[in-house]
Structure formats: structure tokens, C-alpha cells
């Protein structure tokens, strides 16, 4: 459902992403792993059509993100890094705005918003403005906008970053609940996440994919079977300063 083909992105002299390709099928939860600055967010921004790639492209449900961006974005739910949302709006107003932009009207719109609120467990704060919410609720509000239209492809950039253990548990539960129906990518630098929700993982370092496999396959790469050690060996070698 999602095909990423030879994505490249450079910012001036910095090569942020250098030839990333992979596919994600329905029912898969792909963990996108890598140290900070490895190119995870840049890759996701290209997949979701926010940043134009220097070369390469991504196809979402057959829609090329460059040639048919609106069609591709229709099939896509996106939770950007730091879960941005309009702070002066209430949760309901914000979700209604997203639903209307996505073309839902009238009772259909109300039903969608209601279902997203229930699914993201936001019932108790629905009439509060986003600025008054804790980080966990803000994260879930942004999560709600990403799943409101029941997209076949879901892209989430560090969905559990900065949450407390209980909130992480809730978010992971929500991801697992939807996993069978969708193609999901989550980026993270938290390795426990891979075991918690992912069916497959890609490790990216300095803009390149350095490993691609199931959590078990990745684990088999280290003699002691610890993901941390695999991650360190894959991403720490030839540590060079990125800003030349």
C-alpha cells in the first residue's frame, strides 16, 4: 500500500537522505529506527508530501505523492513530530476542522469526529482548548486527526515521544488496535517500541538504510540477542560529524 522508491534529499551540502527504498503492506507495522539526525523525519516529510524529495518518490495506494499529491494525501493519516495542533481551538473544533477539510459534512462529519474522539480516548477533554491539555492528550488529539478518515496508510513520527509510561501504553494499544487494517510506519529511537508494536523494522543511519527485517531477525545479528547492541553496531560505526 506504500512504496518508497529511492528517496534522496539534500539541504545544501548536507545529504540528509540518500536512496531510501522500502514497501509497507496492509497489516504491517513498520518501525523506522535510527539515532537522532539519521533522516527519519526528513524521510517521513517526503513520504507525506510536506517536503519535495531531491529525487525519488513515494506511492501511497497507487497515488504518486509528487504527481498526484492530493490523491495520495487522501489515503494518508499523518502524525507529525511533536504532534502540532491549533492551540486556540477545542478538541472538537479542531477535529471538526480536519474532518471538513477532508470533505466530510453534516452528520457524517459529526460521526467521524465522535468516532475519532472515542478511539483516541478524548471524551473527557473534548470541549477544552488544546493549549490547556497535557502533552499526552495533545498527542492523542493529533493522533485522532490522523485516523479520523480511517486512512489505509498511517505515518507517525515518534508517536510516544515525551509521554509517561501509562500514556505510551495507551498509544501503543491504539496502534495495535488498528494494525490489521492498515499499513503503518512509526519512527522512533526507542527500541522497546519495536518489540511492543512492530512487525518489521528498518534501521536508518546517516540517511541510508542499514538493516531491514523482523525484530527477531534484527536481534539475531547480535551474539547476545539484544536489540540495543544491534542498534549500536549498525549506527555507531564510522561516526563522522554531519555538518561539514
Amino acid at each position: 500500500m506504500l512504496t518508497v522508491c529511492e528517496l534522496h534529499k539534500s539541504f545544501g551540502p548536507i545529504q540528509a537522505v540518500q536512496g531510501v527504498s522500502f514497501t509497507v503492506n496492509k497489516g504491517e507495522v513498520l518501525g523506522f529506527l535510527g539515532p537522532n539526525g539519521a533522516g527519519k523525519t526528513t524521510t517521513m516529510r517526503m513520504i507525506t508530501g510536506f517536503l519535495p524529495p531531491s529525487s525519488g518518490t513515494a506511492k501511497i495506494c497507487g497515488h504518486d505523492i509528487q504527481e498526484d499529491p492530493v490523491g495520495a494525501k487522501r489515503c494518508l493519516g499523518y502524525l507529525p513530530e511533536n504532534a502540532p495542533s491549533y492551540h486556540a481551538m477545542t478538541v472538537t473544533e479542531f477535529l471538526t476542522f480536519i474532518a471538513e477539510v477532508r470533505g466530510f459534512r453534516g452528520s457524517d462529519c459529526r460521526d467521524r469526529v465522535e468516532a475519532a474522539i472515542v478511539k483516541s480516548r478524548l471524551e473527557s477533554v473534548r470541549n477544552q482548548t488544546v493549549e490547556t491539555l497535557s502533552k499526552g492528550y495533545r498527542q492523542r488529539t493529533c493522533f485522532a486527526q490522523a485516523v479520523l478518515h480511517d486512512p489505509p496508510v498511517l505515518v507517525m513520527d515518534e508517536p510516544t515521544d515525551g509521554l509517561d509510561p501509562n500514556q505510551k501504553f495507551v498509544v501503543r494499544q491504539m496502534i495495535r488496535d488498528m494494525a490489521a487494517e492498515k499499513a503503518i510506519i512509526i519512527s522512533t529511537h526507542i527500541l522497546e517500541e519495536v518489540d511492543a508494536v512492530c512487525t518489521r523494522a528498518i534501521v536508518i543511519a546517516r540517511g541510508r538504510i542499514v538493516a531491514n527485517g523482523t525484530p527477531a531477525e534484527l536481534r539475531a545479528r547480535a551474539p547476545n540477542g539484544r536489540l540495543e547492541d544491534v542498534f549500536r553496531t549498525l549506527t555507531m560505526t564510522e561516526e563522522v560529524p554531519r555538518h561539514v
Binding site: 507529525p80 477539510v101 493529533c142
Partner: protein
């Protein structure tokens, strides 16, 4: 989903956003106080002893100069600062729809402020006699609204250039100042002594020159096209700026 439905949805959110905070009310009060203070205290409103609104419209370019940048500085700078731009532009909409929706919302907000000054019409009729020319008044309001639109478009552009609202404000103020001063009579006279042709050419491109004929009651296609053109150019430039710098 139809083009105009998306623009309308974005317009509604942006327009309501002004009223979601005290900003709208502070702005409207400041606008009305400023316009009326300038009209009644500094523009010989009474001295003409005739019912016309020259003294009222005279100050509009300068009021917009100061206040329009305040209304537009957040349009894109705030989206960029808080990261919501990433959310907005990954929705199934085009950049053009987002720009148009936001621009129209800010322009409509200025329209509300301008409409509230309408009290000046019965006031003038009451104070200065009943022979106020409503045609000229209409042309004046039309000119003022178009002028506001041009300033809003310039403010939209400068807001898109930065993630700092303050920088967006200062740039818009400066740009509108240039467009105003280019047709400001004392300056035009000054430069006429040096090169009359050039001074006149520059003045032709100014907000003041085109607003002036409208507030005198002449609805000329050239002036309408001028303001439409300024808006179109500024919005196309906004599109180019956001396309190249949205991630920065």
C-alpha cells in the same frame, strides 16, 4: 471535494481564529479609535463645512500601514513556529487553497473593521448636512477595501517569509510604507525637482495614487486592476516562498 469548499473551510477557521482570542477585539477598538481620532482631530473634518468624507478617507492608508501588518503577521509565521504548517499542508489540499483561504479570512476581518466605521455616514449627514454624495462614499469605501486587500496580501507574503511574527510585522510595515510613500505628495514634489518623469512613474505604482482617485469617486478600471494585480502578485510570491521554505 470542491475547490471552493476547501477554501471556505480554511477561511472559516482562520476568520474564527481572530475571535478566539482578545486579538480581534483589541484590533477593532484600536482601528476605530485611530480612524475616528485622525478624522475628527487632525483632518479639518468640520472646516470644509460641507458633507464629504475626504477627511475620513485621507488617513486610511496610514492606519492600514500600522494595523494590517498586526492582523496578518501570524497567518503563516505562527503556522511555521508551532509546526501546524506540516499538518495543514499534508491534508489533501493544495498550497494555493491554503493561501487563498487565509488571505481571504484576513481581508474579511479588515472588512469587518472597515464596515464598523460606517457610522461615519449618518454622523456626517447629521453634523454637516444631508447632501453627502453616496456614490462618492461608496467609491471611497470600495477603494479603502481594495487598499486593505493589497496591504493584507503584502502582509501574507512577509508572514510567509519568517517564523517570527515580529519580523513578519516589520517587513510588512516597511513594504507598505514604501508603497505609500512612493505617492506621498511632499516626497513626490521633492523628487519632481530632480526628475519629474521618474517621480511620476514611481508615484503611479503607489497605493496612494490609486486610492486617491477612488476616494474622489472615480471608479476606474485601471485602479481596480492595480489593486487586483498587487494582490495576485503578492499571493503568487507567497506560494513560491512557502514552496521553497516551508520546511525551514
Amino acid at each position: 471535494m470542491c475547490n471552493s469548499c476547501i477554501v471556505r473551510t480554511i477561511f472559516r477557521r482562520e476568520f474564527r481564529n481572530y475571535f478566539n482570542s482578545p486579538v480581534a477585539y483589541v484590533f477593532l477598538v484600536a482601528f476605530l479609535l485611530l480612524v475616528n481620532a485622525l478624522t475628527f482631530l487632525f483632518a479639518q473634518y468640520y472646516e470644509g463645512h460641507q458633507a464629504d468624507l475626504t477627511a475620513f478617507f485621507l488617513w486610511h492608508p496610514w492606519v492600514y500601514l500600522l494595523l494590517v501588518p498586526a492582523a496578518t503577521m501570524g497567518l503563516w509565521a505562527e503556522e511555521r513556529r508551532t509546526g501546524t504548517i506540516e499538518l495543514l499542508l499534508t491534508l489533501p489540499i493544495t498550497l494555493g487553497q491554503a493561501i487563498l483561504g487565509k488571505f481571504l479570512a484576513a481581508w474579511a476581518f479588515l472588512g469587518v473593521a472597515l464596515a464598523l466605521t460606517g457610522v461615519i455616514i449618518p454622523t456626517t449627514i447629521f453634523l454637516l448636512g444631508g447632501n453627502l454624495d453616496l456614490g462618492v462614499t461608496f467609491a471611497g469605501y470600495l477603494g479603502s477595501f481594495l487598499l486593505a486587500g493589497a496591504c493584507v496580501a503584502v502582509g501574507t507574503l512577509t508572514s510567509a517569509m519568517t517564523r517570527s511574527q515580529v519580523i513578519g510585522f516589520v517587513l510588512a510595515l516597511f513594504a507598505c510604507l514604501v508603497f505609500d510613500l512612493a505617492g506621498f505628495d511632499p516626497l513626490v514634489r521633492l523628487f519632481s525637482g530632480w526628475s519629474p518623469a521618474l517621480a511620476d512613474f514611481v508615484a503611479q505604482g503607489s497605493f496612494l495614487r490609486h486610492f486617491e482617485s477612488l476616494r474622489r469617486g472615480v471608479i476606474d478600471l485601471v485602479d481596480l486592476a492595480y489593486f487586483g494585480g498587487i494582490m495576485a502578485i503578492a499571493l503568487i510570491a507567497t506560494h513560491a516562498v512557502l514552496n521553497s521554505r516551508k520546511g525551514a
